[in-house]
Symmetry: C2
Subunit: 317 residues, 2 copies
């Protein structure tokens, strides 16, 4: 009998699609993953992007979870093995049949056939949870807002879109906290970029000032050379300094203050864009929070991610 | 940037489950696939078997199909690429999240998490449709009953279990015929064993006589050496002869007549079992059609499959 493994491998070796560029955006519930993703998809063009939320790999529906001792944050509450499998398939340019969890009803509906386009953006609670999952990505991001801000975001969203009351969301956050600490926040250390959006405690900016961004740019990937553009003068609206990460390794830390002027931000954006050697200028969609609200710190965060995605695309070709 | 393919492969290389033995049972709608499978699962033990129907990989639900120019038999009506993917994963000992199509409502429901056990039996319309799918199997079977018998089986089943009227089933069969010819029957030539259950035209057996089995045993796998046990005398209830297949290649053809006595059948069963060097005797569950109907031709067909499954298991170990 011919070896079936050999036959499988050989039958498979012909005519495969190009490998897409894979970006992970990990973070706790309501950390801002979708807002970050949306601007990127718009900048790259929907026809070139596939964006997926991997929270649909829940192992139990809402009813079944009531009898379980854990929240959806627990690895045992999710088919992480299937998530790994699907990440691998997408990274190889192959389609998946993705489960679909309906947040409105708390049940699983018809799975969706998903083919990877040029850029695949994977957001969710656990995309960096395992070694194999992490190996599928070209660029990894962890969103790390201060907890009090994230809690407010979650209350706002879950009440507006998922039919909960504020008291229910607060109770849920409390119940989830030990598992956030055990399973979500540890993914921070595997991210190439850690992004924190927050007000600056020492300033008294007027209401409506966008949150500032603090971006940890780890030397695990090659970032645009910002040190030739920015100084470490912390009195300026945008500055870059070397710090020690929690594990002692050196890393760059970029601050973009919420009060940075559009003009200052544009200068930085142009400098980053110039390194890419791509025609045109940075897309206008970057930094959009809602139709009439824009944030320069968000725009620059998205632009740095865009830089990495386009750079990785060039490397693949 | 380290090559992500290399990292994926390396991260994956550790601690994988043993590879299961894979059996395909292909055939048209109501060809007897489930009956054949059931006896094998019972003989091997449910705790050692995973059996899956790959007709759940439909790309459209019943409502959507109404607007399509083809029936579920058409490859374009199915996610055969996802079926291939899942067959590969199972063959490698990995779990899948299998789509679930509800025949009663004609809609897709919650997918099922399926882990392969020692023996994986895949039945359906298309398991041998592509080269990659075929490469996943150790043993392949095609069920090839005469069309008039299959039509009656389909009318009986679809009216009893799927809520159709006989006229609806007949209309459906007519509509499906061109696609049966184009996409289902061509799989016959890829099967290691082609099984045809039918009455013998030249005999006038009393009602209730089980159907005879005509088993084409192709030399693509190593069958038990029946030629030392049986002769080619076609007057006996069980005989074996060499014939030319439709493509001109020589193949063995085993006939087991429906009027074969239990005693004759048992002798053949014992001889096949003896070649396996497995303790005990052939399982009693073989040949059961319903709780009170038994068929020796079915028992021997199942036993030959059981032989191949156990043999392949020994080869893997």
């Amino acid at each position: 009998m011919p070896d079936k493994m050999l036959r499988m491998t050989r039958s498979e070796a012909t005519g495969r699609a190009a490998r897409p560029v894979m970006l992970a955006i990990a973070g706790d519930s309501a950390a801002g993953k979708t807002t970050l993703t949306k601007g990127l998809v718009e900048a790259l063009g929907e026809d070139r992007c596939t964006s997926i939320c991997v929270d649909d790999y829940h192992a139990f529906d809402r009813e079944e979870r009531k009898t379980k001792p854990f929240t959806p944050l627990h690895p045992d509450c999710n088919h992480l093995d299937i998530m790994e499998q699907h990440l691998q398939l997408l990274a190889l340019g192959r389609p998946i049949l993705k489960p679909v969890y309906d947040h409105a009803t708390g049940t699983f509906t018809r799975p969706a056939y998903v083919e990877p386009r040029e850029f695949v953006i994977i957001e969710g609670l656990h995309p960096l949870a395992t070694k194999l999952a992490r190996a599928c990505f070209d660029v990894t991001v962890f969103l790390d807002p201060p907890e009090e801000i994230r809690h407010q975001w979650k209350i706002d969203r879950d009440c507006a879109k998922r039919g909960y009351t504020p008291a229910q969301v607060v109770a849920d956050l409390e119940r989830r906290e030990p598992e956030s600490a055990a399973y979500i926040r540890p993914q921070r250390r595997y991210a190439d970029i850690v992004a924190r959006f927050a007000p600056i405690a020492t300033r008294n900016d007027p209401p409506g000032t966008p949150l500032s961004a603090e971006l940890m740019l780890r030397p695990t990937i090659q970032h645009p050379s910002l040190s030739t553009i920015l100084t470490d003068d912390h009195r300026t609206a945008m500055h870059l300094k070397i710090i020690r990460d929690a594990d002692g390794t050196p890393t760059d830390c970029l601050h973009v203050h919420g009060h940075a002027s559009t003009e200052e931000a544009r200068q930085l954006e142009k400098a980053i864009w110039a390194e890419l050697e791509v025609e045109g200028g940075p897309p206008d969609s970057l930094g959009r929070i809602t139709d009439d609200r824009r944030s320069e710190p968000l725009a620059i965060t998205q632009l740095i991610l865009l830089y990495h995605l386009l750079q990785a695309r060039q490397d693949e070709q």
